[in-house]
C-alpha cells in the first residue's frame, strides 16, 4: 500500500512525485511507455522559466533523476483501470494491481490518428506523428502533412527544408494556425497546398507508397508520397478512468485549478485536465497542486 500512486511519468506526474516525496509520502509512479511524456522528442525547449535552452530529453531525464533521488518508485506498466473502495484506491495494470490512499492521474494526451484501416501497421513505415523525430528519413523525398493547426504548419515548414516536395492537406480552405507561418509556407516553392480535402486511404507495399485524397466535391486523387505526417490534434488519455472522473465533450477530465475530481482522493494533473494553456510550466504547476491536495486529503482521513 502506497500513500500516493501517480499514473503517468510526464512533467505533471514527475513534478507531483517530487512534491509528494518532499511531504514524506510513499510514492509509486506508473508509466506506460518511457518517462518524460510528450516532451521527450522535442529538440529545443525555450520557454521554461530559468531554463533558456534545454532539449526535451535532458529536461525529462533531469526531472526523472530528481524524482528518483527523492525516493519515488517507478514501474513501467500501463494503468488500465482504477477502483475505489472506502479509503483504498486501486490501480490495475496489465501485470498486477497496486493500492494507495490517493491517486493522481497525469496521463497527458496522445496524437489523434486518422483512423484508417492500415494506419497502425504503417507507423514507422512511412506514417509518422512527429516531424522533428522522423523528418530525417525523408531527405529529398516526397511527403504529405495533414492538418490545419500550428503543429501541421510548423511540421510542413520543417519538412520543406528536408524533403523535395511537401503536400499540405487540410479539410478546410483556411488554416487555424498562425498567419505568419502560413506566409512563410507560401514563400516555399516546394510546398503544395491541398485544400478542402481529407486523406481517405493509405497505399503501401511493405511501406507507404501513396495516399488517396478526397475533396469536398467527392473527387479522388492519388498522391505518390514516401511519408505522411499526421498532425490532426491530440486526445486526452482519460478513457480508462472515465467511470470515476467526469470528462468534457472533448474527453478532458473536468477539474479546476485545485485538480480535484468528483471522486475524493482522486486528482488529475497536466494536459489531460480542462484548462486554457497546455505547456510544461502549467503541467508542472498542476503536479505541485495535485500532490499538495493529495497530501491534504490523506491528512483529513
Amino acid at each position: 500500500m502506497y500513500d500516493i500512486i501517480i499514473i503517468g511519468a510526464g512533467p505533471a506526474g514527475m513534478t507531483a512525485a517530487i512534491y509528494a516525496r518532499r511531504a514524506s509520502k510513499s510514492v509509486l509512479v506508473l508509466e506506460a511507455k518511457s518517462y518524460g511524456g510528450q516532451i521527450v522528442s522535442t529538440p529545443d525547449i525555450e520557454n521554461y522559466p530559468a531554463e533558456p535552452h534545454i532539449s526535451g530529453f535532458d529536461f525529462a531525464t533531469r526531472l526523472y533523476e530528481q524524482a528518483t533521488a527523492l525516493g519515488a518508485e517507478f514501474r513501467f506498466e500501463k494503468a488500465v483501470e482504477i477502483r475505489v473502495e472506502g479509503k483504498v484506491r486501486t490501480v490495475v495494470t496489465a501485470r498486477g494491481s497496486y493500492e494507495a490512499g490517493a491517486l493522481i492521474i497525469a496521463t497527458g494526451s496522445e496524437c489523434r490518428r486518422l483512423g484508417l484501416p492500415n494506419e497502425d501497421e504503417l507507423v514507422g513505415r512511412g506514417v509518422s506523428y512527429c516531424a522533428t523525430c522522423d523528418g530525417a528519413f525523408f531527405k529529398k523525398k516526397t511527403v504529405a502533412v495533414v492538418g490545419g493547426g500550428n503543429t501541421a504548419l510548423e511540421d510542413a515548414l520543417y519538412l520543406a527544408d528536408l524533403a523535395e516536395t511537401v503536400y499540405l492537406i487540410h479539410r478546410r480552405d483556411e488554416f487555424r494556425g498562425e498567419d505568419a507561418t502560413v506566409a512563410k509556407l507560401k514563400e516555399r516553392e516546394n510546398v503544395r497546398f491541398v485544400f478542402n480535402s481529407t486523406v481517405t486511404a493509405l497505399k503501401a507495399e511493405k511501406k507507404l507508397t501513396a495516399i488517396e485524397v478526397t475533396n469536398k466535391s467527392g473527387e479522388v486523387t492519388e498522391l505518390e508520397v514516401n511519408g505522411l505526417f499526421v498532425a490532426v490534434g491530440r486526445i486526452p488519455e482519460n478513457r480508462n478512468f472515465a467511470s470515476l472522473i467526469s470528462l468534457d465533450e472533448a474527453g478532458y477530465a473536468k477539474a479546476s485549478e485545485n485538480c480535484r475530481t468528483d471522486t475524493p482522493g482522486v486528482f488529475v494533473a497536466g494536459d489531460n485536465r480542462t484548462k486554457e494553456v497546455r505547456q510544461l510550466v502549467t503541467a508542472a504547476a498542476d503536479g505541485a497542486t495535485a500532490a499538495t491536495e493529495a497530501v491534504k486529503y490523506l491528512a483529513s482521513l
Partner: protein
C-alpha cells in the same frame, strides 16, 4: 557481451549470418527516446549471452536504414537466421524488449 556497432560493411557478418538471435537497435544521437533505450540495451547485452545486441546509427548508415524500411526511431528489429522476426518502434522497457526477442 557489449553492444556491437554495425555498419554496411559488417551487417551481413554480425547480423544476417549470426547463429544467435540478434536484436538490432536503429538509432541516432539526436533522438531522445533512443538515448533512453541505450542503457536498457547495454544491460540486456551484458546479461544475456544467448543473444547478440547490435546498434546501427542511421545518420552514418542511411543505406541500411533505407534497406530495412526504417522511418522512425528508436526501431528495434529482431533477426533469427538472417530473417526478421519482430519489430518495435519507440521506447520500450526491458520486459517488452525481451518479449519481442521471444524464446
Amino acid at each position: 557481451m557489449k553492444v556491437i556497432e554495425a555498419t554496411g560493411a559488417n551487417f551481413e557478418q554480425e547480423v544476417l549470418k549470426s547463429d544467435k538471435p540478434v536484436l538490432v537497435d536503429f538509432n541516432a544521437e539526436w533522438c531522445g527516446p533512443c538515448r533512453m533505450m541505450k542503457p536498457v540495451l547495454d544491460q540486456l547485452a551484458a546479461d544475456r549471452g544467448d543473444i547478440k545486441v547490435v546498434s546501427v546509427n542511421i545518420d552514418d548508415e542511411d543505406e541500411l536504414a533505407e534497406e530495412y524500411g526504417i522511418s522512425s526511431i528508436p526501431c528495434l528489429v529482431v533477426f533469427r537466421d538472417g530473417a526478421e522476426t519482430a519489430r518495435n518502434i519507440g521506447f520500450v522497457p526491458r520486459e517488452a524488449v525481451e518479449a519481442l526477442i521471444g524464446d
